[in-house]
Symmetry: C2
Subunit: 114 residues, 2 copies
DNA sequence: AGCATATTCAACCAAATGGTTGACGATGCG
DNA sequence: CGCATCGTCAACCATTTGGTTGAATATGCT
């Protein structure tokens, strides 16, 4: 999976990881805090974060004993351009996006803010 | 993997499948013709097409003994909106997209037009 | 020093993925 | 009818994925 599009799309294919990205849209977070809303082990979340990091979608910076996770949305750019090439999808509709996030967060198996 | 975003992103995570979609951008194609440029069995391509179909990214219609594959770009819409919510990526740049397609097609392990 | 907190590592497991091959059903053609 | 072509199915295989648990490392606090 050398191709960056492979890793980005694969990273986005998991609902837990998409939920994490959505959480990071609000603010940078420590690993423990990212994990808190999910019903799975910290180790599992740590693995998800590694995948997101390798895809370039987040950056992790260790300050003291806590590792901060920061969204890196530019990593989605190429993937976004790739997809847009197929459809000329209407320009970003932020309302749609927010409804989207809400519905996704609300219905995931391991969702935060249930 | 009930969530449509899961299946769409997962489908797009494979370079062979992205290459197939790019080919279908040109024109509808029969399964055998889709498979021709790839260095893998017809059965393997058939599986990829099933995955693309289940993701809604293509539709397959059987006419006579040949099954035609048709791109269904609307299936990317939600995923595209989801991603755009993160970055406000610049409006579609078709030139970028074409360069992109070319470079991807040209460097894949099992690429068409080698 | 000694303990608590933050995070990862290692080993393990079940299930999914991406590929193969060979047989098979369905359709078209001479 | 008999044969070739189109495409899928079934069984198999190796690898990856997403999770677990328990131990280990690193930092901070008193």
């Amino acid at each position: 999976m050398a191709n960056p599009l492979d890793t980005v799309f694969a990273a986005l294919a998991d609902p837990t990881r998409r939920a994490i990205l959505a959480m990071l849209l609000e603010d940078d977070m420590a690993v423990t805090d990212v994990a808190e809303p999910f019903e799975m082990s910290l180790a599992a979340i740590s693995k998800h974060l590694t995948i997101l990091t390798r895809a370039g979608l987040i950056a992790q910076e260790k300050r003291g004993r806590v590792k901060w996770c920061k969204l890196q949305p530019d990593a989605m750019k190429d993937a976004s351009v790739w997809m847009q090439g197929f459809g000329q999808f209407e320009p970003v509709n932020l309302d749609a996006f927010e409804r989207f996030l809400k519905s996704e967060l609300g219905s995931e198996p391991h969702s935060p803010e249930s």
